[in-house]
Symmetry: C2
Subunit: 287 residues, 2 copies
Amino acid sequence: MTRTVYVNGSYLPEDQATVSIFDRGFLMADGVYEVTSVLDGKLIDFEGHAIRLERSMAALDMTSPITSEALADMFRELVRLNDIDQGMIYLQITRGNPGDRSFVFPDASLPATIVAFTQNIPNLADAPAAKTGFKVISVPDMRWGRVDIKTTQLLYPSMAKMMAKKAGVDDSWFVADDGGITEGTSNNAYIVKGNRIITRQLSTDILHGITRASVLRFAAEAQFEVEERPFTVAEAQAADEAFSTAASIFVMPVVEVDGKPVGKGTPGPVAARLREIYLDEMRKTAI
Amino acid sequence: MTRTVYVNGSYLPEDQATVSIFDRGFLMADGVYEVTSVLDGKLIDFEGHAIRLERSMAALDMTSPITSEALADMFRELVRLNDIDQGMIYLQITRGNPGDRSFVFPDASLPATIVAFTQNIPNLADAPAAKTGFKVISVPDMRWGRVDIKTTQLLYPSMAKMMAKKAGVDDSWFVADDGGITEGTSNNAYIVKGNRIITRQLSTDILHGITRASVLRFAAEAQFEVEERPFTVAEAQAADEAFSTAASIFVMPVVEVDGKPVGKGTPGPVAARLREIYLDEMRKTAI
């Protein structure tokens, strides 16, 4: 089936969906994005993504070209047109097409470019990987200094994903100059020690995960202690459990770091419980 | 006049030049670029740019989709079609359009996307700015860790250009964590003390400028001492002269750093001489 995608107000067959070569998203990675999950044909954690989108654009002096309500309508139309039960909606907004290339931002009156498309993932909630867990390697965090802004400057995360693939594992976790893990290639990173869940504090060094915020809230409600601080590879290897969170993976157990098993080397009960709570709560509040 | 641009083997009117929204250059900044200057309708330092392009692609495990000879032919055709006497040719090569979004690189057999266009700049050689010089501010270098690879991850340089603009100056120079200046937003940075030209050594921290390599060679031939090491803002402010180099500006005097004049606060003789030598030599070897 040919997907129907969204480009600047039009719903188009995916093979007709294009942007100008002068689009600043293409020439300069001058764009932001969000990935929103779909369960039972409904949008998961939509408001969080819409708020973060506004935050990313504000941080880049971009004018928001679409209201949160119009965005939800557009997402729902894409879900309908593509008959998505489980999957994801990718949204990208760039500073638009000024008709030529310059390091200087175009005038704020230039229309932004808005692109969105669905990805159909029938087993998103019951992902087989959640049963076996991710194995990860650690790699130096060589990304730019404002990864809290969700930009399309994703080459290094993509390279790190390939390093993982070459190492025969599922993902890479980034290690900052301070020796602490920042996050995964496209997910936040956690370890579990007893009743305590440890994850790096919010800063410009990590993405302010929407799934992270929800999971930490649910964890606190479920009487876990939440400690926000950097942790090292050695700490992760000595932890009871580890996991990652992101819109696309919810709560994903991590069972191995740099070749050493975490805990028993199998998905642990805390990650499993948080995944279950997260999915339950999200299904309740899906729109 | 509508420009004729190049997209994947076709010469097209600029308003018909598009790429897929699934192009990895658009979704992930997974692309490299080069800017080659044109003087008297001929290509300046072409071989250097072609070699660096290969280097950038090799560093990213990209397969080169075009020979250096075919690239030169394509550039010359763009110059001819657009009647460029002085200006620039922008070339971008991305990992192509895999038809969907994934952090995993597509198979190496996927055709790359090749895009190129001209920019007509009638007074490129006699740029008025070369007579008055650039004023710059220093800003923290927040770019990723492999800026020696010439990728399209240019959002921060673009933001730094805007910081300069807001400060009423021409450009920003990046300062690394070691306190040394790395380079400008799209140019290498130098200071002059007596007969000595000082510029940061090659590493993953700076772009390996093609203009830089030529200028340093000419400087040595003209009996200047060349010292490759980091220098600070304070050193720049206390220097006799400062300048930047890039394909688009050749040798550009820098007369002010963070509000303080460099030397007399006017373009100095060393930068002027190097600019003259560079332009002379480049015109001799243009193809």
